[in-house]
């Protein structure tokens, strides 16, 4: 009994700093923002704020916000899909077909985007994607009459930039669960008559599903709220809920509206995750 009690104290003592830190860095600012979202104006300078639901009302009133929300969610879906289609095969090859001595070097290449400044990375994409950019020039060097394929300031350009930014998350999470799969399981399946496709469908995919799902969540959630890539790569097409929120804070100084839109975005993300929860819970457990 006493040991039990002391253990409980020990656990409390050891975890308390973490909880305190989380409370200070996440919960406190979020609470302030939640408060702001119910104000008429930001309480900066000597303006007199009053409590109101107007900011949330604006979202419901204006077709514009609903359209942007839909665009942001679809952007999340497309980028996640792109990351899955590129990242999962990459992780599979890395985990099961690349000799050990090459693996480290390849990992370095994958993580490299993390090390560069995001802004620099996105601006370099403008060099590549714009009309008469790197892709165009390369293409025209081979086919002199080739038409321009410059896609800068279009929706696909945003997707390209975002997929590039978030691909490492997908590759790493998929890689971790794929490399944990014992080689002998693959051999066992093969000895039982399974073709490569059958091995993938019946062994590799189900066993790596936790990593795949974790990667999807990890990509989807931040992409919905992203604003840098849409703004720089998307031009007029690049207005999303994320850029509007950013505008409210940095350009328009309508913090309450920005805060309200942020919480609406948060609610949407949580709703989507809650809807996917049964699937996630079933597949995120170890076997």
């Amino acid at each position: 009994m006493r040991i039990e009690q002391r253990r409980r104290f020990a656990i409390l003592g050891l975890t308390a700093p973490t909880y305190l830190w989380l409370a200070l860095t996440i919960f406190l600012p979020l609470s302030v923002m939640l408060y702001f979202s119910f104000l008429t104006v930001a309480p900066i300078g000597n303006r007199e704020p009053a409590l109101t639901f107007a900011q949330y009302g604006a979202f419901l009133d204006k077709e514009f916000y609903r359209f942007l929300t839909w665009r942001s969610v679809m952007m999340g879906v497309h980028v996640t899909l792109g990351c899955v289609l590129i990242g999962y095969p990459a992780a599979l090859i890395l985990a099961h077909h690349v000799p050990n001595r090459w693996r480290e070097a390849l990992f370095l290449l994958i993580v490299l985007p993390f090390w560069s400044n995001a802004l620099v990375r996105i601006f370099s994409w403008t060099m590549v994607l714009r009309e008469n950019g790197l892709i165009d020039r390369g293409l025209q060097a081979i086919f002199p009459d080739a038409p321009s394929v410059g896609i800068l300031f279009t929706y696909p350009a945003i997707i390209v930039g975002l997929v590039h930014s978030y691909l490492p998350y997908m590759i790493l999470t998929c890689y971790i669960s794929l490399q944990a799969i014992d080689r002998s399981l693959i051999e066992a399946a093969r000895s039982l008559g399974a073709s490569n496709l059958a091995i993938f469908r019946r062994v590799l995919l189900p066993l790596s599903l936790p990593g795949l799902l974790a990667g999807m969540v990890l990509v989807f959630v931040p992409v919905i709220g992203s604003f840098m890539e849409p703004r720089i790569l998307g031009g007029l097409e690049g207005v999303t809920l994320g850029t509007v929120i950013e505008d409210q804070f940095t350009a328009v100084f309508n913090w309450p509206l920005g805060a309200a839109l942020s919480f609406i975005l948060l609610a949407i993300v949580l709703t989507i995750l809650a809807a996917a929860y049964p699937l996630l819970r079933r597949n995120l457990q170890p076997f």
């Binding site: 002998s184 399981l185 051999e187 000895s191 039982l192 008559g193 059958a198 019946r202 189900p206 076997f287």
Partner: protein, 366 residues
Amino acid sequence: MSIVEVDKVSKHYGTVAALENVSLSFADGEFFGLLGPSGSGKTTLLRSIAGFVEPDQGDIRIDGAPVRDTPVHRRDIGMVFQNYALFPHLSVFDNVAFGLSVRGAPRREIAAQVAAMLDLVRLGGLQERRPRELSGGQQQRVALARALITRPRVLLLDEPLGALDKRLRQEMQIELKQIQREVGITTVFVTHDQEEALTLSDRIAIFNEGRVVQVGQPNEVYERPATAFAAAFLGDANFFTGRAGSPNGTGSLGAGAPRRVLLADGDAILTTSPLPADGEPVRLAVRPEKFEIYRSGAGPAAGDAMNRLSGRVLQAIYSGSSITYKVDVRGQEVTVFEQNRSAQPFPPGEAVDLVWAPRHSVPVEP
């Protein structure tokens, strides 16, 4: 149920020879053990038969047809892996059903066959369990059932009982043998456990450094080891080196009578096995349990019928049913294994005589 032939198979990894010109033939329904230390090539051979390893040279044939161009999943083999390699995300039922399911068998047929197979390995009622919820022995049986359900032409077992504790291993040995008999499938298994090889196999091949050292039935290989390595790897052995003796030594040495191996210091050991020409060097192996140990001067007299060497007990290791002696014989340490029949073991320092029959002195290649 098939005949498997391994014909002059070699496999090199860089400069290391994993298999060097190995030829073996496994008879229909035979339980064949590949025995050897780790790195001796036995696992490479098993994996070559399975198709996971492609030999550099030579052919493997199943029922006369070379399988070189047949990929693993079309070879129609069953394999049990050392760590069982059960699919952790599938139930026992789905694990066992895997082979039939990838072949597209109808659902009803799968259910019937899985049930029958689980009965065979005495796992009825555990269908819904996940592998991690099973004991080691149960996992082993699931792996066996999974490998057998497709009625493969050959069953390959890679250290099948290696992960089990000793008691369970002995139980499973008997059961494995029973199941193999019942199914009648040609089975090749790899082990480094000599006792397991002797217990399970109809025939054994002993591997060393990529080569087959000796092939034979367990008692042949044990009683008549061909080389010093085979003698020492399969069981324990004491070695005596000397020269083939001249027939004009003392004692009657007619045709079929024991011949003499002269040791360095004038002692001689008799053997009934064929020896090289007189004066050629000879190495004799004697198993520890072939000796009888007597107080110095007691027991049967030396002569044509018996070998007798005297020595001094260095150490007596008591282990209940048996006693292992280390005896100093002419400066050489000899291991002697005695059933515990005498009430009082010989104490260290005691002068003793070792007595054994000439047929137990087996000349081996060095």
